[in-house]
């Protein structure tokens, strides 16, 4: 049987449809699970910066969205008996290889409950010391606020500030310290909004 060029179109079209169908099935089959995993990840990273015994509300469900002038920031409010116990939100710093996302937990008085790096693409072995799994560096910020150390000292040592950089990687910690500083300023600017009634 002689076949014309149309056979190629049929073959390729068939493949495209079959693979698209397979992808749809896989997407439908995994979407719910992936959303669950994402929620678990969020809860896990929130738990690292907002101690669970601090609040009794549904932190994720009662999130609110504020603008910091450039982007929208989703703020998770922790309350106990209706009184504000702390807030958590993500800040973004410009690292050596793209954005570094850190999550900040801030107490009502504006001091840090804790900071964790959520996602980054920094050089493995150098810049990845901002992960708590690789180095305790990021735990250094707990308990600090914009007055302690003073604002002008919220920099890495190389820039005349208070915080250690890593040997071979200055841009990464500089970005993280900057993001935390911005995050604390964001807290001060929006303090009234956090305590406001729901």
């Amino acid at each position: 049987m002689k076949t014309g060029p149309w056979i190629h179109a049929v073959v390729l079209g068939g493949f495209a449809m079959a693979t698209a169908a397979l992808l749809s099935v896989a997407d439908i089959g995994t979407r719910q699970e992936i959303a669950l995993r994402k929620a678990e990840d969020l809860k896990a990273s929130l738990a690292q910066v907002l101690p669970a015994d601090l609040y009794d509300n549904d932190v994720v469900g009662e999130a609110l969205t504020l603008s910091d002038g450039e982007r929208d920031v989703t703020v998770f409010r922790a309350t106990k008996g209706g009184a504000l116990a702390g807030v958590a939100y993500e800040m973004v710093g410009r690292g050596y290889a793209g954005d570094i996302r850190v999550i900040l937990g801030v107490a009502p008085d504006g001091t840090l409950l804790g900071v964790r790096t959520v996602a980054h693409k920094e050089t493995p072995g150098l810049g990845d010391k901002i992960e708590v799994a690789k180095s305790p560096w990021i735990t250094r910020f707990s308990g600090l606020g914009l007055g302690n150390p003073p604002v002008e000292r919220w920099k890495v040592k190389k820039d005349g500030g208070e915080f250690d950089q890593f040997s071979g990687a200055t841009i990464t910690p500089r970005a993280v310290v900057g993001a935390i500083r911005d995050g604390l300023a964001f807290y001060d600017a929006n303090r009234a909004r956090f305590t406001e009634a729901r």
Binding site: A16, A26, T30, E33, R37, E40, P124
Partner: protein
């Protein structure tokens, strides 16, 4: 080859003679990108091996339906679909592993070695030998990545298999070795240029080894011939 597949030959070919990195010089992009530590190399190697086995099986299974003129786009469709499905499935059900390997999975789509095996092997062989070829090629790739990663890690940070337990589970924490305590770090080997250097030196070493082996073989053959005469 098509009638009697010789699995031993397939495996030897894939692991050494025609190793993806050191023999075919393919897949150098992921090789240089992820091999800053031995653990990362192993992770990428494992993920690639899995996809290679699957993609070779799929291509071999469908090889009689694919017309030669459209084979390349058809292979690309198969591989990209497989990788995406693996990515989603791992994200959903093997989430801990995904957090470590997730970064590498999408990179596999652009690994020319996967397409290369589909084209040169799976498209002309039955399913079983193709799966063996895929897994062996992946294993060869994994070994090469671990070698490059290991050398870079020891020279660059003074450790070996750091964080292996987060990839393989706590049972494998014995793999994590600090080769040089209080090592200051040698930045060059951690950064991409170190990857080029290490791959280059390892390639040179393989050439030297191959030449030695060849000379040995020739000498042996000559001795045997002299004896016979």
């Amino acid at each position: 080859m098509p009638n009697t597949p010789r699995y031993g030959a397939i495996v030897k070919e894939a692991l050494y003679d025609n190793n993806v990195v050191f023999g075919q010089m393919l897949a150098l992009c992921p090789t240089l990108a992820v091999t800053s530590t031995a653990t990362n190399g192993l992770g990428m190697g494992l993920a690639t091996t899995f996809v290679l086995g699957l993609s070779n099986a799929a291509v071999a299974l469908l090889r009689n339906f694919i017309t030669p003129e459209v084979r390349i786009p058809a292979y690309v469709l198969i591989i990209a679909t497989l990788v995406t499905v693996v990515d989603m499935a791992m994200n959903a059900w093997l989430h801990d592993l995904y957090q470590v390997l997730g970064l590498f999975i999408p990179l596999i789509v652009v690994n020319c070695a996967v397409l290369g095996r589909a084209e040169t092997f799976a498209s002309r062989n039955p399913v079983l030998p193709s799966v063996v070829d895929g897994l062996a090629t992946g294993a060869g790739f994994a070994v090469a990545l671990m070698l490059v990663g290991g050398v870079r890690e020891v020279l660059g940070s003074g450790t070996l298999f750091a964080n292996a337990s987060s990839l393989l589970g706590p049972a494998f924490s014995f793999l994590e070795v600090t080769v040089v305590a209080d090592y200051g770090g040698f930045l060059l080997f951690v950064l991409p240029p170190g990857g080029f250097l290490v791959v280059g030196f390892l390639l040179a070493a393989k050439r030297v080894l191959d030449r030695r082996l060849e000379r040995l073989r020739v000498a042996k053959a000559a001795a045997a011939a002299a004896e016979a005469a």
